[in-house]
Symmetry: C2
């Protein structure tokens, strides 16, 4: 084994081909993907067929080219108006406000809601520097105030607050409730709080039980 | 809130734009990435700048276009022969056999080895269906037998077995040792076993201590 004098250990950088290094550092930029996982993913892509790897590359390009936000409700869309807003069987007078497009998807999957949505693109979080200006609050207030700004010019009759039942979600709902209270002709409601169906009372936490008692429903 | 009679809950599929669904399922094909993580990554790519997302897409394309295996040692390369094999300051008579390109990188980072490598692309693992035919054993034996098949036509004088110190790595080393034993003029060695520098005796496991005793070195 020939050691070469004068060559300090660790002096050489990694010797992957340039393209592999580039891919690893691109992958390591993704959230929750560290350097090690990025290497593992890069080696997977190296091993997999060209079709498979190119499928991923093309999917990323497609998304950046074709996906935008709905001009009315800020849901993800592949045209100017999203599928929900474009569907004229929906009740455009009822607007359910959610934080993220994925909340909208979760609600859509129940098939129980036939109104339309408004996606805030986040929740108020002063500690993270997210104030009212960072969310799509202004377009929501415009939709409520001016029927021309809502889908098909329908006047908004009810705003349902569908934020996450967390401290920040509740804070955002409180703020929205205050801002919307002054608007004439608009009912503001929120999604029900209580025991999750399928759960057991003995394992429910205090906040859930308190909600269940306070918001008890007539049978 | 208008519910529509006759619409069963859960009947609607997810309502992401087609391109977003496609990206999520491409990402979910990656190892260790489930559906939830794939959604999280897709939303990250949607939020990030076009340059950033396209950077990843282009890095994948680049890797599939430009990266291949070295014709001599099977290391990753961006031309017919890898950087290590192409470097004429290296000792081509000493071949260190490793399982994967990443093992080669780890060894290169020490800067202590000035020979060349041979990457097996795995280890023997009968339970996973990996036999001698799945590895680059034939090209290794050809390099040893015929100087013309080695870098710059140099005759191989020493083969160092650098497989992982695991059951399967050891099994592969045993097989290689047997296969190489009959070849005239080739010395077969393996990487040293013993206590890892920086560790503490009291925490070393029995196998490590047994190796340390058995392979004790003269000082």
């Amino acid at each position: 084994m020939s050691e070469r004098a004068g060559r300090a250990p660790g002096k050489r950088g990694p010797a992957y081909p340039r393209a592999v290094d580039a891919l690893i550092s691109e992958l390591a930029h993704l959230p929750g993907i560290g350097r090690r996982s990025a290497e593992r993913l890069a080696f997977h892509l190296l091993r997999s067929s060209t079709d498979e790897a190119m499928g991923l590359a093309r999917a990323i390009e497609d998304v950046k080219k074709s996906v935008r936000h709905c001009g009315v409700c800020w849901n993800l869309a592949d045209s100017d108006v999203c599928d929900v807003c474009a569907d004229d069987s929906r009740d455009r007078a009822t607007v359910l406000v959610v934080e993220q497009p994925k909340d909208l998807i979760a609600l859509e999957q129940t098939g129980m809601f036939r109104g339309v949505y408004h996606v805030l693109m986040g929740r108020l979080s002063p500690l993270d520097g997210v104030g009212p200006g960072e969310l799509t609050l202004a377009p929501l207030f415009e939709r409520v105030d001016d029927p021309a700004k809502n889908v098909a010019g329908v006047r908004v009759a009810e705003v349902i607050l569908g934020l996450n039942p967390t401290v920040e979600g509740d804070g955002t709902a409180l703020y929205l409730g205050e801002q919307l209270a002054g608007r004439v002709g608009v009912r503001v409601t929120r999604l029900a709080r209580g025991l999750p169906t399928g759960s057991q009372l003995e394992y429910a936490n205090k906040a859930v039980l308190a909600d269940a008692i306070e918001c008890r429903q007539r049978v």
